[in-house]
């Protein structure tokens, strides 16, 4: 099928974006990436930790993946911009997931600072994918600021609560002429499939895969579910009805 998603000039065949945090052991990541089929993988930027001789995360991510550093840890647009620039200096491309958070309980993103950071970074040539709290007017401003895609949350990060913001995400999909990537909260493949059926361009999943008992199998499950949901979206699903409609002929039979 020639159904590709183009973001920042790159043509993606997989519509599952993968987060690389929280894995019990990072060495499982290559198998997870392979099983999921993901072509975009997020990473975070942190000060080197002298104490723990932690392996380099990049060694676990296949070279043909698009690397999407996030700006986690940023509480303001200014900090997000600084982190994004550091990330780009690593020479792994110019994608960035903007994430500006100052709420410590629900880790909900700050749309206002996110818009400011988007504007600056898009102006500097980054391919900017802002993580946001679903809100139509904020999404419009992100689009105007130069975002390459919009990433509204389904529910708070890491909760596995699913697509609780369906009503608002549905409106973004309908009204915003950019790819909508549901990021955060997706806990089950069925929820990823539902997001895709609604017309999301992609979903970003991390916790649900990283914390599953078998992350490789779960990655494969998400990969298939995302593809299934996308395919269903393109296949003109039938109408939802109030009354029943027989699957077998109702015409007369033996008793008549």
């Amino acid at each position: 099928m020639s159904d590709v998603l183009e973001i920042g000039g790159i043509e993606l065949r997989s519509r599952l974006f993968l987060g690389s945090g929280k894995f019990a052991a990072n060495k499982v990541i290559p198998d997870v990436v392979a099983a999921s089929g993901a072509q975009v993988v997020t990473v975070a930027v942190r000060r080197v930790d002298m104490a723990s001789a932690d392996e380099n995360i990049l060694t676990h991510i296949p070279k043909d993946c698009v690397l999407m550093p996030n700006t986690s840890g940023a509480r303001t647009a200014e900090e997000a911009v600084r982190i994004a620039r550091l990330a780009r200096a690593a020479g792994c491309g110019n994608w960035v997931k903007i994430e500006v958070i100052s709420d410590n309980r629900y880790l909900l993103p700050d749309n206002f600072e996110t818009i400011k950071a988007t504007e600056v970074l898009a102006g500097e040539g980054f391919v900017v994918l802002p993580y946001m709290s679903p809100d139509l007017m904020a999404a419009k401003r992100l689009a105007d600021a130069g975002a390459a895609a919009i990433m509204p949350l389904g529910s708070p990060i890491g909760t596995n609560r699913g697509l609780k913001t369906k009503e608002l995400v549905r409106i973004l999909i309908e009204e915003i002429p950019l790819p909508i990537v549901v990021d955060a909260g997706i806990g089950r493949p069925s929820e990823a499939a539902e997001a895709m059926e609604m017309g999301a361009a992609a979903v970003l999943v991390n916790t649900a895969i990283a914390t599953a008992g078998d992350p490789v199998a779960m990655a494969r499950a998400f990969g298939m579910a995302v593809e299934a949901g996308r395919m269903a979206h393109l296949s003109s699903p039938g109408a939802i009805l109030q009354y029943a409609n027989a699957s077998s002929p109702l015409t007369g039979f033996l008793s008549e």
Binding site: F23, V45, R47, D54, N56, I57, N70, R85
Partner: protein, 66 residues
């Protein structure tokens, strides 16, 4: 001479270069990015770039994240 590396005050040799510092810290230059007094410095500059007292250095790398 004392400088600030990743927010911690640290004793280093006078005029040590970034390259020398990284080597001394056992860090693979290919896996880190260096910000010197709020300015990001390209890898090609590290061999020449000497630190001065009270300089602020950020040495960052990629880790798993979502």
């Amino acid at each position: 001479m004392r400088v600030y590396i990743n927010g911690s005050e640290t004793e280093v040799a006078e005029k040590i270069t970034v390259s020398a510092l990284l080597t001394q810290m056992g860090l693979d230059p290919d896996t880190v990015v260096v910000e010197h007094n709020m300015v990001i410095r390209a890898k090609s500059e590290w061999a020449q770039l000497s630190l001065a007292a009270s300089d602020k250095l950020e040495i960052v790398t990629f880790v798993g994240g979502g």
